[in-house]
């Protein structure tokens, strides 16, 4: 571990020197995310799906939709759950077994970004109040890990939910029965998009690679919606941000997010 630290120190010094010259290791601008490719419908048996490649990071999201019994206090809304796991194929250090805290955080931040944005109008996903509602499960599987899984999972989830088809159900004898072959569009209200920024020294870098991630001082993930509002946020890492940096990060997130949102929209048009 000590050896690892020395190498990390050397790498950090090198990366910092480059940053002082205005350069990132892979030649990107500070506020430039990596190449983003989104393919929807890659899992045809799922009700929605998307494969996202963000540089060399790859995530496959699949949406499963099924009727659920609602919780006692939320019988007038559908259910929405997003998860994330790092598959062991994704990286030599990825572990099988119960999720480590970093994976729990990844899943919860992904879920929060979708949920808190109000992306779906959950009131439209009720089959019969207090009896049966539509449950939407969006699971993200990280298949290749080159850093910034937060954003890759955010884009995969948003693209998969945005392009899903909701099977039609009718209540018969108090039970939901699927009407084969009939679907409705999901009640989308906004498209949430997260942008993650690393702080290295005094520099703020959009969409850090795994190399930048390993030596960053702190990070922040800010999710914005179609109206340019901030809807979710998560600070991480072993340093802090100044007030000015936080405002700059929010502005960056909204600016970069609007470009990403276009790519997500395009992916649905191309997929249909």
């Amino acid at each position: 571990m000590s050896d690892g630290l020395i190498i990390d120190q050397l790498k950090k010094t090198q990366i910092l020197e480059l940053l002082q010259d205005g350069k990132r290791v892979d030649g990107r601008q500070f506020d430039e995310p990596r190449q983003l490719t989104i393919d929807i419908g890659v899992i045809p048996k799922a009700e929605g799906s998307a494969r996202v490649r963000l540089g060399d990071t790859e995530v496959v999201a699949g949406v499963k939709i099924q009727p659920e019994r609602p919780f006692p206090d939320t019988g007038d809304k559908g259910m929405l759950i997003c998860t994330a796991e790092i598959l062991p194929i994704a990286h030599p250090t990825a572990e099988t077994g119960p999720p480590q805290p970093d994976v729990v955080e990844l899943a919860r931040v992904t879920d929060r970004g979708i949920r808190e944005s109000g992306m779906l109008d959950m009131k439209q996903l009720v089959l019969e109040k207090d009896k049966s509602v539509i449950g939407i499960f969006c699971d993200n599987a990280v298949t290749d890990h080159d850093g910034n899984l937060f954003d890759a999972c955010s884009y995969a989830s948003t693209a998969a939910i945005n392009s899903c088809k909701i099977p039609k159900y009718e209540m018969q004898d108090e039970k939901p029965v699927k009407i084969e072959g009939e679907f409705t569009e999901p009640p989308i209200t906004t498209l949430p998009v997260s942008v993650t920024m690393a702080k290295i020294g005094d520099f703020i870098l959009v969409d850090p690679t795994i190399e930048e991630w390993s030596i960053m001082d702190a990070r922040i993930t800010i999710t914005s919606n179609s109206d340019g509002n901030v809807v979710a946020l998560q600070k991480g890492g072993s340093d802090g941000f100044t007030q000015e940096e936080l405002i700059k990060c929010a502005e960056l997130s909204i600016k970069v997010g609007s470009k990403i949102r276009e790519i997500i929209k395009q992916s649905k048009l191309r997929g249909n």
């Binding site: 899943a107 509002n229 340093d239």
Partner: protein, 243 residues
């Protein structure tokens, strides 16, 4: 939060909140340092209706050995709610929410703790929520800073915690439970007043960029107020008024 129901008046026509506070007023905060016998450092904090006991052990050896680091000490944090701390009895096993909050608090404390001063060892910070109200993570973080200082762990600064948020279309300080449930946004903040750095920041809910800026502004104010109470608690412990 966008669609949460509200039957209670979060803010009345005079700008008074459901618990009688003004928009820029924190709840009552009391902190007592050194409340446990066995722990190396400890603190008991009441932050509104939050009641949290924090114990710190260490620096101490790490088992298994390969989890330690020859160059630096490590900080381990556990935020935990006892079963009777919440409205509906909680299973004692740590939930995913508790695992995430533990990680977020750890990363909020790390910038303040001089970890390099105790290589090869670990400092454990255990936060036990005995009674929960809105803002328990900020309260736990606030208490943890005091308990670390009480344990004599070398620190660059204390981290003070206080949330800002939005309810009834107003920007408010120190979101309580009702405002968290029925409000529009909750932005918990952890702040090092001397170093002027924000080390904890999360957001649930929707804010315009302008509202976001106001929230951070008002939240830092709140943290500065909490910081004074932290310092007072340590003073009372180490320089009791009797001296």
């Amino acid at each position: 939060m966008g669609g949460r129901d509200t039957n209670i008046v979060l803010l009345d026509e005079n700008g008074i909140r459901c618990d009688g506070r003004k928009v820029n007023e924190t709840r009552k905060v009391t902190i007592k340092a050194g409340v446990l016998k066995n722990a190396n450092g400890s603190a008991y904090i009441e932050f509104g209706d939050n009641k949290i006991l924090v114990g710190v052990y260490g620096p101490r050896d790490v088992h298994p050995k390969h989890m330690s680091d020859t160059d630096t000490g490590i900080l381990r944090c556990r935020y935990h709610m006892v079963p009777f701390s919440v409205e509906e009895r909680k299973n004692p096993a740590p939930s995913r929410r508790e695992i995430e909050i533990s990680k977020v608090i750890k990363e909020a404390l790390e910038p303040a703790v001089m970890l390099k001063e105790f290589p090869r060892t670990a400092v454990d910070v255990y936060m036990e929520v005995l009674q929960a109200d809105g803002g328990s993570r900020c309260a736990a973080l606030t208490g943890a800073s005091v308990a670390l200082a009480d344990a004599g762990i070398p620190m660059r600064d204390l981290v003070a915690g206080c949330a800002a948020g939005k309810a009834a279309d107003a920007i408010i300080l120190d979101v309580n439970n009702e405002e968290d449930q029925a409000g529009q946004a909750d932005l918990p903040i952890g702040y090092m007043p001397n170093l002027k750095k924000i080390t904890l920041l999360q957001l649930d809910g929707v804010l315009t960029l302008e509202e976001y800026k106001q929230c951070i502004e008002i939240g830092i104010d709140g943290c500065n107020q909490v910081y004074e109470i932290q310092k007072k608690a340590l003073q009372d412990k180490f320089f009791p008024s009797g001296e």
